[in-house]
Amino acid sequence: MSNSDTVRSLLKMFESFNVEGFLELLTDDAVYRFGNYPAAVGQENIAATIKASHLDAISGISFEIKSLYELEDTVVTELICNYTLNKGGNLPLPCLDIFKFQGGKVSAMLVFMDASPLFTA
């Protein structure tokens, strides 16, 4: 599986809220950073951060990949994140993800976006 394929699988895990499946694609000491939140290190911390940073605020999510760049050991992808809010309504937000790979698994996932409308919309 190419690194791009892994990224696509990982995004599908997110869409089905499959945090366990998502974690299996990460290295044990992976780093996850969402927006301006402090980076979470390690699978347990990452699972907690993902839930607190945005999954708890939404009832659904789908990703539209606008562009994807496969570099040496890194995949960069530009997305539209289509969120379904707990209180109803859809919210599309622009997002950019960096995925760094080590031995076929993701060692760092860095999410660049302003997710504040999730909490104020």
């Binding site: 927006g35 760049y69 890194t74 530009e78 860095l110």
Partner: protein, 143 residues
């Protein structure tokens, strides 16, 4: 010192030296950042094509240099200064740069925030056709 003698030293080898000799488009990007850091919106928009696409966070996109100026003016007036710390520049194709940074802003009240930021930059000839900036700028405006 007269205006005629006051010129930028260029190549600006002392700032961002890690990204020297990466080609004209990286140099153009550095000049764009220097215009931004000087809070000079008129110089900033000179790097853009007449028909362009400028997206900052979740704000509506601007499609001309004049729209970039209108959209940026208020923001620039809210800052006392800023600095782009470039972490990485990738060149996936001749006309595209991917730029990972942390950007430090200083507000007029003296508040300093350092925030992660990522730019996708696309060129048309020597000019920038598209600049998409992915970041959450909100901490600058929060008490």
């Amino acid at each position: 010192m007269t205006d005629a003698t006051y010129q930028w030293e260029w190549p600006h080898t002392l700032k961002w030296p890690k990204f020297n000799n990466m080609g004209e488009r990286v140099d153009t990007l550095k000049k764009l950042f220097l215009a931004g850091e000087a809070l000079n919106v008129n110089n900033f928009i000179k790097f853009f094509a007449d028909e362009c696409y400028y997206q900052f966070g979740n704000f509506p996109p601007a499609r001309t240099p004049q729209e970039i100026k209108s959209a940026s003016q208020g923001f620039i007036e809210s800052c006392e200064g800023l600095h782009h710390r470039i972490l990485n520049i990738s060149i996936p194709s001749e006309d595209t740069l991917l730029v990972e940074m942390v950007v430090t802003y200083i507000s007029h009240s003296g508040k300093i925030v350092t925030l992660p930021c990522f730019d996708i930059v696309k060129y048309e000839g020597a000019l920038i056709k598209q600049l998409k900036i992915f970041m959450d700028i909100n901490p600058l405006f929060q008490d």
